[in-house]
């Protein structure tokens, strides 16, 4: 519980516009992009690193839990204050501190929106590579916490490959720096450890990212299929022939129709599936690869093969892809996005399994995914007002993820474990591995006050003791 005294201190520190504590305001911060909810007792908006240090010290003094929050677009409940306490919103720490093209780096505050980095440098021919579909809204702090990916991570890698240094505050209030603009600093790669730690080890207050030179040529292809298996075969064949697109996204028929109705991007309404393929690089390389891919698509019985002719056409196709979840929202009152990963050769069989799971639970499951790297996003449509539907959706999701584990994949490719998949972690990792994760958690956060109840299994039944150890004072659930 946040005491009136702690609240008063925070209010004094941040001023009247720097926090929220009325129930109607707090209710806006009880959810993120996932399906779970929990209400913070206070939301604070630091303006500087010093503010963050001061907030963390107050929280420490009063023994209150803390959760960082970027844009709240997370899809695994990462920013949900499961144990109550203070939500630290980074919306006001949204400045790009430095753009250093000479060194291909930018230094940004965590609240900077992902796309804003690219917007700031694109006139000078640079871009920031990790491009989550939510990039118009999500923040770099959230990206670092989740190690976010995106369509183009197939070629360029995920967030961790583009983050070179961090400034961060530990739950004891200590301020630290690690990494830098330079290459290969000696010592342990703390930047690498913290990236993807889902806001459970530290609050990040500054990020050094890599900027990349824009390619000379970009070509976007839409390949249309009457059978989803043919689509899957195309992906496998592209890999087998060593063709290296920068993005290979697949949308199934259900998804296509939802997207087309919402965005009018020019997707066919009657197809079984499409591939959205992008090639980038030197003209000589791209032109050749377009032809190679055309061949593969024809051999794999694509019924149509379109190359976007203009930047507008290209953007429209991507808008369709990137607004897909929004499009789903128009059709279904609620949906549950999964984030399983399978080895590339398992994509086609896994699609079959997902279809069967949908039938079993009587739920529509639509597929949209980063096919090039085997990262699936089955979207389970349901209606919270229909009793039992949420339960069914969660069970169906879990069944799909169990399949991903069984074929050597993972339960999350980019959305994080959060409070959504933590109970599945013991299917993926041995207890020795989970213990080690817990050791790291306790090393950085011995009182378990930073984003508690995430990532690690909270334990059920006889394992309750584990959760006790994890939360310090008392079990949450």
């Amino acid at each position: 519980m946040l005491s009136p005294e702690a609240k008063k201190k925070l209010a004094a520190l941040l001023g009247p516009r720097g926090y929220l504590d009325r129930p109607e305001d707090l209710s806006l911060y009880e959810y993120d992009g996932s399906v779970d909810k929990a209400r913070p007792e206070m939301v604070v908006f630091p303006r500087s690193t010093e503010d963050v240090v001061a907030i963390v010290k107050i929280a420490r003094e009063h023994g209150v839990p803390l959760v960082g929050r970027g844009a709240g677009t997370g899809l695994s409940g990462g920013a949900i204050p499961r144990a109550g306490g203070i939500t630290v919103g980074f919306a006001r720490m949204n400045r790009i501190l430095e753009i250093d093209l000479e060194n291909e780096r930018a230094v940004v505050q965590p609240g900077v929106v992902n796309l804003d980095i690219t917007l700031a440098v694109q006139a000078r021919n640079y871009f920031y590579a990790p491009d989550p579909s939510s990039q118009r809204a999500c923040t770099i702090g959230g990206n670092v916490a989740e190690n976010a990916g995106g369509p183009h991570t197939l070629a360029y890698g995920v967030t961790t490959n583009h983050v070179l240094g961090l400034e961060f505050v530990l739950p004891d209030g200590g301020l630290h720096n690690t990494g830098g603009k330079e290459g290969d600093l000696p010592g342990y790669d703390l930047t690498g450890l913290l990236t993807g730690s889902e806001g459970t080890l530290a609050l990040v207050t500054k990020v050094i990212v890599r900027l990349m030179r824009q390619p000379e040529m970009v070509k976007t292809i839409l390949a249309i299929y009457n059978a989803a298996e043919d689509c899957g075969r195309t992906v496998a064949e592209i890999t087998a022939r060593a063709i290296t697109p920068v993005a290979v996204e697949m949308l199934d028929g259900v998804m296509l129709r939802m997207v087309e109705e919402a965005t009018h991007a020019g997707f066919p309404m009657d197809a079984a599936a499409v591939l959205l393929i992008e090639l980038e690089g030197l003209r000589e390389a791209v032109e050749e690869q377009v032809e190679q891919i055309r061949e593969v698509c024809q051999e794999c019985r694509a019924r149509e093969f379109r190359v976007a002719r203009s930047a507008e056409e290209r953007e429209l196709l991507w808008k369709g892809r990137k607004n897909a979840f929004g499009a789903v929202g128009r059709v279904s009152p609620s949906y549950y996005v999964q984030d399983g990963v399978v080895p590339r050769t398992q994509i086609a069989p896994t699609l079959g399994v997902i279809g069967k799971v949908g039938e079993k639970y009587g739920l529509t499951i639509s597929n949209i995914f980063h096919a090039g790297d085997g990262n699936l996003h089955p979207i389970i449509l349901f209606d919270t007002h229909r009793p039992g539907d949420l339960e069914k959706a969660k069970n169906a999701g879990e069944e799909i993820l169990r399949h991903c584990i069984d074929v050597g994949g993972s339960i999350t490719g980019e959305h994080g474990v959060g409070m959504e998949k933590n109970e599945l972690m013991d299917r993926l990792f041995s207890s020795d591995s989970l213990d080690m994760i817990r050791n790291f958690k306790l090393l950085f956060d011995p009182e378990n006050r930073l984003n508690p109840g995430k990532v690690l299994p909270t334990g059920k039944g006889c394992l309750e003791i584990r959760q006790f150890a994890l939360t310090g004072a008392a079990p949450i659930y």
């Binding site: 000479e102 060194n103 291909e104 780096r105 989740e146 190690n147 991570t153 890698g157 995920v158 961790t160 490959n161 630290h176 720096n177 690690t178 830098g180 330079e182 290459g183 290969d184 000696p186 010592g187 342990y188 790669d189 703390l190 930047t191 690498g192 450890l193 990236t195 993807g196 730690s197 080890l201 030179r213 824009q214 060593a242 290296t244 030197l282 000589e284 390389a285 990963v341 399978v342 080895p343 590339r344 790297d373 085997g374 990262n375 050597g408 994949g409 993972s410 999350t412 490719g413 959305h415 474990v417 998949k421 972690m425 993926l428 990792f429 591995s433 080690m436 994760i437 790291f440 090393l443």
Partner: protein, 374 residues
């Protein structure tokens, strides 16, 4: 080195061996084939030597998945050959390639010219299993290229010089090998001209796999004059032609190719008392480093890492102190115990030490190997 030598044959045996030694509070020297004893901090005397050289199996390799899982003791050269047979690669280009093991390459964070385009070890490893002093095998990551389940603990082991735990299994993502690989070598009279060329290439639409810059003493060792820029490109024949056309505009092309991967090793083999300082420069500092130092310098000008080669450790000791962020990466073994190999660690050293204490509370494992600070 020590009384007892262990060469476990499985990851489980490795974990058991470490666990047993640690439970007896025995100090441990950990390595693969010990090809890099001149690298890093001194190899301290210890009670037990544990080598991962017996862990040589390929655990999973499905080329169509573009991933591979191998045990840490696999010789790097065998690993590369296996991939090459399938026209695939992990383009780290580490030095000591014919002696090193996969685990050793990672533990020393070795890399080479092509890191400009393909990154270093942290960018190509997708998962690993490591054995701890508690005798446990811990998994980080997995066998798929995108995976954010759990903490990325594996990152800590890369460049850790075996001071935290023993790498047992490493999973990599793979790249298809390019159809054609070609080198281009450009020579310039001044550091400024060479620096400008590097900058022009970096800022152009060309995306070479490597971009290295050598000062005249380094060039001389390879039989060339002046400041030399070495570029490797990969792709189809018309891509390669395009590189040739554009690079010619930037500067005069000289010889076809220069061997850079083993530059440091060759230098050290000639200079028994030699030392190599690794400077972590920014991209814009790299040409400056090349211009200012008078010993042979090879700069990975596309990533900022510069290697300065000294015939004796005294001069190296001066350069490592500044003005750039630097470590003495290689030094004569006999002198190491007295040299300041890492004069100015960052403020994050204390956190690194906390991690070390957590994994090795009695300070048993590879004492001092992390440049004498851990």
């Amino acid at each position: 080195m020590s009384e007892t030598a262990l060469t476990p044959g499985t990851p489980e045996e490795l974990a058991a061996g470490l666990g047993e030694a640690a439970s007896r509070r025995q100090t441990i020297t950990l390595g693969g084939r010990f090809s890099k004893n001149r690298m890093g901090g001194p190899v301290a005397a210890s009670d037990v030597t544990v080598s991962t050289a017996g862990l040589t199996r390929v655990l999973t390799y499905e080329p169509r998945d573009l991933t591979i899982s191998v045990e840490a003791g696999m010789p790097w050269i065998e690993f590369s050959r296996l991939l090459a047979a399938n026209r695939q690669m992990v383009p780290l280009d580490p030095p000591f390639a014919d002696l090193a093991t996969v685990g050793g390459v990672l533990a020393s964070n070795s890399s080479g010219p092509r890191r400009r385009l393909h990154g270093a070890a942290r960018d190509v490893v997708i998962g690993m299993k490591f054995a701890t002093l508690e005798g446990k095998l811990v998994q980080s990551g997995g066998m798929v290229v995108k995976n954010v389940a759990g903490l990325d603990m594996g990152k800590l082991l890369i460049g850790s010089f075996g001071t935290l735990a023993a790498l047992a299994v490493v999973n990599f993502k793979l790249l298809p090998a390019p159809e054609v690989r070609r080198h281009f070598v450009l020579a310039f009279d001044t550091a400024e001209a060479a620096g400008a060329a590097v900058r022009a290439i970096r800022q152009s639409v060309l995306q070479p796999a490597s971009l290295d810059l050598l000062n005249p003493p380094a060039a001389k060792r390879l039989g060339l004059d002046g400041y030399v820029v070495s570029v490797e490109a990969g792709g189809n024949p018309s891509v390669i032609e395009r590189y040739e056309r554009e690079l010619k505009q930037i500067g005069p092309l000289t010889v076809a190719a220069i061997p850079l991967q083993e530059f440091t090793r060759n230098f050290l083999e000639e200079h028994a008392g030699g030392a190599v300082v690794r400077i972590s420069a920014t991209l814009s500092q790299a040409p400056e480093v090349v211009g200012r130092l008078t010993v042979p310098v090879v700069a990975r000008a596309g990533s900022g890492v510069c290697y300065a080669h000294f015939a004796g450790a005294e001069a190296a000791a001066e350069t490592v102190r500044g003005p750039w962020i630097a470590i003495m990466e290689f030094a004569p073994e006999a002198l190491k115990a007295t040299l300041d190999l890492w004069p100015s660690p960052g403020g994050d050293l204390e956190l690194m030490r906390r991690i070390k204490r957590m994994l090795d509370p009695h300070h048993l494992l590879n004492r001092g190997r992390l440049y004498r600070h851990i």
